[in-house]
């Protein structure tokens, strides 16, 4: 399990690099570390290993999810150049925490023992609490961190309780052990069901599914944009990887029990996420609700657990992550130019839709990158997001859950409404925007994200080798 080791070592190394006078080395060093980890991750390809006394199980799917998380982290870090120029910021600590949080994400993805799941969730969450509050002088950042921490700690407690109940009913913490018990299907202890529900609540909170989503808008809005991008992609991917592993390995036997519950949660999540997003004036809050709605789409695949689900979740989380990072990247640049720093002293948000007015005229590249990512999030064909939705819908059709599909389709149409508000603002409204200076490296990231989104949109078969 080299990624865990490497990420920990690299994280510590980064903290020491922070003592150096020049901060300039931190960003390339972090990117290099992430690339090394990404390469090392694939060493076990096509093999399945159990690590650390059967605590972690690494298989191809886990490696793919780890790769998605690492790529997301890479893109986010690559967009974080403004830390270097900001005196208030502590880049060494930020990057260190990001690497540590990835350790948690890897554990969530590859857990075989519920204890590892818990440890992973905690490592990732605590890192997120800190990053959310990293804008120390900003009241809203502090509020967000406190809110996130209190609610997060509470649900972690519920989750732990659930694990205890599962242990009580099955006598095992391992996925295989629990799965073996649940496969009996008859005479199952009531504690198993209660434990499963509590565990699900904990994980659904992390992926911000309704009705456990209330923290999402405030936290996303209050956190520095760059960390919002990190949170909304890495945490979500890791959370869904964990949910998928949990449900597909251990609880297939009791599918009939949990699928209706999950389906109802899916429908609520889709409806709340999409309908509330329509009424937002702040782009960041809109993205928060949009992330809730995407949790809903991802849940479709789980509620309809089947042969297609694996592929659907991988594709969807990748498409969603790339598009989200690209959108937040453009927002970062625009907000900076408008005067609010990511780590601002005033803490006044100018991140409303109006910020984008007339953007595309002076900055065609930014406009195009944003348009592609919005189209992808809205699920318009020729973008990766379309195929993500396509795979998700396929899983539901395969299971015959047509009513859920109808909800999802109606909500997709609603989604188009708010994603297009950005496109309309950029292309059709007038605004006094001057050309924004985009650092070359930043440009490469946006171009790469755009090409990836379009490339997967035209040739979704490219990812097939991964399954």
């Amino acid at each position: 399990m080299l990624p865990i080791v490497l990420l920990s070592v690299f994280g510590i190394a980064l903290l020491f690099l922070g003592f150096m006078k020049s901060k300039a080395i931190l960003l390339p060093a972090t990117l290099l570390f992430l690339l090394i980890t990404l390469a090392v991750n694939f060493l076990d390809w096509n093999k399945t290993y159990l690590y650390f006394n059967d605590m972690l199980r690494v298989n191809n799917l886990a490696m793919v999810f780890i790769a998605i998380v690492l790529v997301s982290a890479f893109l986010v870090v690559a967009l974080s150049g403004s830390f270097i120029e900001n005196d208030e910021a502590q880049p060494a600590e930020y990057y260190g925490i990001i690497l540590f949080s990835l350790v948690g994400a890897v554990m969530m993805i590859a857990f075989e023992n519920l204890i590892m799941l818990f440890v992973g969730v905690e490592i990732l969450s605590v890192a997120m609490y800190v990053l959310t509050g990293s804008d120390k002088r900003n009241l809203r950042s502090n509020e967000a961190a406190l809110k996130y921490f209190l609610m997060g700690a509470f649900t972690t407690g519920i989750m732990l309780f659930g694990m205890a109940l599962l242990y009580g009913s099955t006598g095992s913490f391992t996925l295989a052990g629990i799965g073996g018990y649940a496969a009996n299907q008859q005479g199952l202890s009531l504690l198993l069901y209660v434990g499963l529900l509590m565990l699900l609540i904990g994980l659904l909170f992390k992926v911000s599914a309704a009705p456990f989503h209330f923290w999402t808008p405030d936290v996303y809005d209050g956190a520095p944009t760059i960390f919002t991008a990190f949170m909304s992609t890495v945490v979500k991917t890791a959370g869904f990887a964990a949910l998928f592993r949990l449900l597909s390995v251990s609880f297939v036997g009791v599918y009939n029990f949990w699928w209706t519950i999950l389906a109802v949660i899916t429908a609520i999540t889709l409806i709340i996420g999409n309908l509330t997003a329509v009424y937002q004036n702040s782009f960041k809050r809109m993205m928060a609700y949009s992330s809730i709605s995407h949790a809903g789409y991802l849940l479709i695949g789980l509620a309809a657990l089947g042969a297609q689900t694996k592929q659907a979740i991988v594709f969807y989380s990748l498409a969603y992550s790339i598009a989200t990072i690209s959108a937040f990247g453009v927002l970062l640049l625009v907000a900076q130019q408008k005067g609010t720093q990511t780590i601002s002293k005033e803490g006044v948000s100018t991140e409303s839709f109006d910020t984008f007015n007339g953007l595309a005229r002076q900055n065609p590249l930014l406009g195009f990158a944003m348009t592609v990512s919005m189209l992808s999030l809205a699920g318009i064909p020729l973008t990766a997001g379309f195929w993500g939705k396509f795979y998700m819908f396929s899983t539901a059709v395969e299971r015959g859950q047509i009513w859920l599909l109808v909800v999802a389709v109606l909500m997709s149409a609603v989604g188009i409404y708010y994603y297009f508000r950005v496109i309309i603002a950029m292309y059709f409204r007038d605004g006094a925007t001057e050309p924004i200076r985009v650092a070359p490296f930043y440009k490469y990231v946006l171009v790469a994200a755009t090409i990836l989104t379009l490339g997967l949109g035209v040739a979704p078969g490219l990812l097939q080798g991964l399954f």
Partner: protein, 492 residues
């Protein structure tokens, strides 16, 4: 392989124009569109009149799922390929006297649109069809919303959301059909449209699939009561975008009816076909009555188009060979006529700065050329014998009449009403005393004439010798009839 070229060439040309176009974008776009027309014309004339799919290509796309990049031209698509190839160069040419800001983007979007339309009309894979069906929306949305009138943003937005909403239901239906297909040699399922035809679905499934498809296509055409996006969008869009919308894009809906609904869900058509025809006939009469009351030329033509397309839908749902043949040739004819009519409105607007009929008049006195072309286009629209409109409408009405005499009679009002609103428009704008706005009206320039000339040629060609066009569609239509329910009535 020719099909692949027909789809890719405009897309590549569009990309080049977008990045390199600059001020010469207009000429480059015209050149590209003419080259595309040459290819489409070649495809049409070398098309062997049988039921097979020709010039086809077929590659794996998502191999493990059995989804393929597969397209070809058959008797159903050949006229629409010709139409798409034929109209775009003249739509480009019609803009030669206007200046649009950011010309490179403008013309690139038009060519992208053409590529997507070619894809829609030739796709042989259900998901490929869906992809192009949606992809065609993006360029037209930007064309309309960037270069449109004052009220363009909300209007085009409504159009976009409305149409996407409809097609999402189609996506569900396609995915459902896909899962019903039996395993093939390569994959567990297949998304080839031909495989959809062979399915034996339960009546219940056929019923909801019928509606899933029908709503998608009915919004696109549009059929009453899904038409509310249409008049505003047509009026607010810049004229070239309106021409693309009315001339080609609405045919996507009619094409979809023929390609998907009739052969895939014959039982659904049997149950709901009459409802669909009644809706279409309501649209015919309703659209015509509103058209009679219009003062704005563009809005009048928009409603006339709504009325005409209703007849095409009714003809298709009559499930007769004549109705289907009529719909196919009428799609070609209507595309030509409506582009001509919108161009007339555009020419008048460019000289008088108004489209209001009560501010126009007396234009005939200084414009012999415009008068003649306008008259010919108009006669085509009102389906005078020996013009293109007559052939299609006659076949369509025959089809509807065979299906149900009363509905046929009601649909027949289209000819009377059509004559009323069209001649009223001609009279109010061209005859009578000149107004302050029309005093110094100048006749057509050379480039404007060259838009009309090929259209006029086509009006008469289709009107006098429709056999050229009917013969290529006939075997494919006959083949399609095999999949249609027992109620089908044959022409012979």
């Amino acid at each position: 392989m020719l099909t692949l070229f027909l789809i890719l060439f405009p897309a590549v040309a569009a990309t080049l124009i977008f990045f390199l176009g600059g001020e010469r974008a207009k000429q480059a776009a015209l050149l590209a569109a003419l080259a595309e027309l040459a290819c489409a014309g070649y495809a049409f004339f070398s098309f062997k009149p049988d039921a097979s799919s020709q010039f086809a290509f077929d590659y794996p796309w998502i191999g493990s799922l059995g989804i393929r990049l597969s397209a070809g031209i058959d008797g159903i698509s050949v006229l629409l390929v010709l139409l798409t190839g034929l109209l775009v160069p003249f739509i480009v040419l019609s803009t030669f006297n206007r200046t649009y800001k950011q010309p490179a983007t403008f013309y690139a979007l038009m060519l992208f649109m053409q590529a997507a339309l070619m894809g829609v009309f030739t796709a042989r894979d259900g998901f490929l069809f869906y992809l192009f069906f949606e992809a065609a929306l993006i360029p037209i949305y930007f064309l309309a919303a960037m270069w449109g009138g004052d009220n363009r943003i909300p209007v085009t937005f409504k159009f976009f959301v409305y149409t996407i909403f409809g097609s999402l239901f189609m996506l569900i239906a396609l995915v459902y059909l896909y899962y019903q297909t039996p395993p093939t040699a390569i994959a567990a399922h297949s998304s080839a449209i031909a495989d959809f035809y062979k399915l034996n679905l339960t009546p219940q499934a056929e019923n909801w699939i019928f509606w899933a498809f029908f709503i998608a296509f009915a919004i696109k055409m549009p059929v009453f009561p899904f038409h509310t996006w249409q008049p505003d969008t047509y009026v607010e869009s810049p004229t070239p975008a309106t021409m693309l919308l009315a001339g080609i894009m609405l045919k996507m809906g009619v094409y979809g009816l023929i390609r998907f609904i009739l052969p895939i869900v014959p039982l659904g058509v049997e149950t709901w076909g009459k409802t669909a025809i009644i809706l279409s006939v309501i649209g015919i009469i309703y659209g015509a009555i509103i058209a009679i009351r219009q003062r704005d030329m563009k809005r009048l033509i928009a409603y006339s188009s709504f009325s005409h397309v209703g007849l095409m839908a009714a003809g298709v749902f009559s499930q007769t060979e004549t109705g289907m043949q009529g719909a196919l040739i009428q799609m070609l004819a209507h595309g030509i006529n409506v582009v001509g009519m919108f161009f007339v409105a555009d020419v008048i607007f460019s000289r008088t700065n108004t489209r209001q009929l009560d501010q126009l008049g007396g234009i005939t006195q200084s414009t012999p050329k415009l008068t003649v072309y306008f008259m010919i286009m108009l006669l085509g629209s009102v389906a005078l014998p020996l013009t293109n409109g007559f052939v299609g409408e006659f076949l369509l009405l025959h089809g509807v009449y065979t299906f149900n005499h009363y509905l046929g009679l009601a649909a027949g009002f289209t000819i009377i009403f059509g004559a009323v609103y069209m001649l009223r428009m001609f009279q109010k704008s061209m005859f009578g005393p000149t107004t302050s706005r029309t005093e110094s009206f100048t006749d057509l320039t050379t480039s404007e004439s060259w838009v009309f000339i090929p259209l006029v040629v086509m009006v008469f060609w289709i009107g006098i010798y429709p056999h050229t066009f009917l013969k290529v569609t006939e075997p494919a239509v006959a083949n399609l009839m095999k999949y249609i329910g027992t109620t089908a009535v044959s022409m012979k």
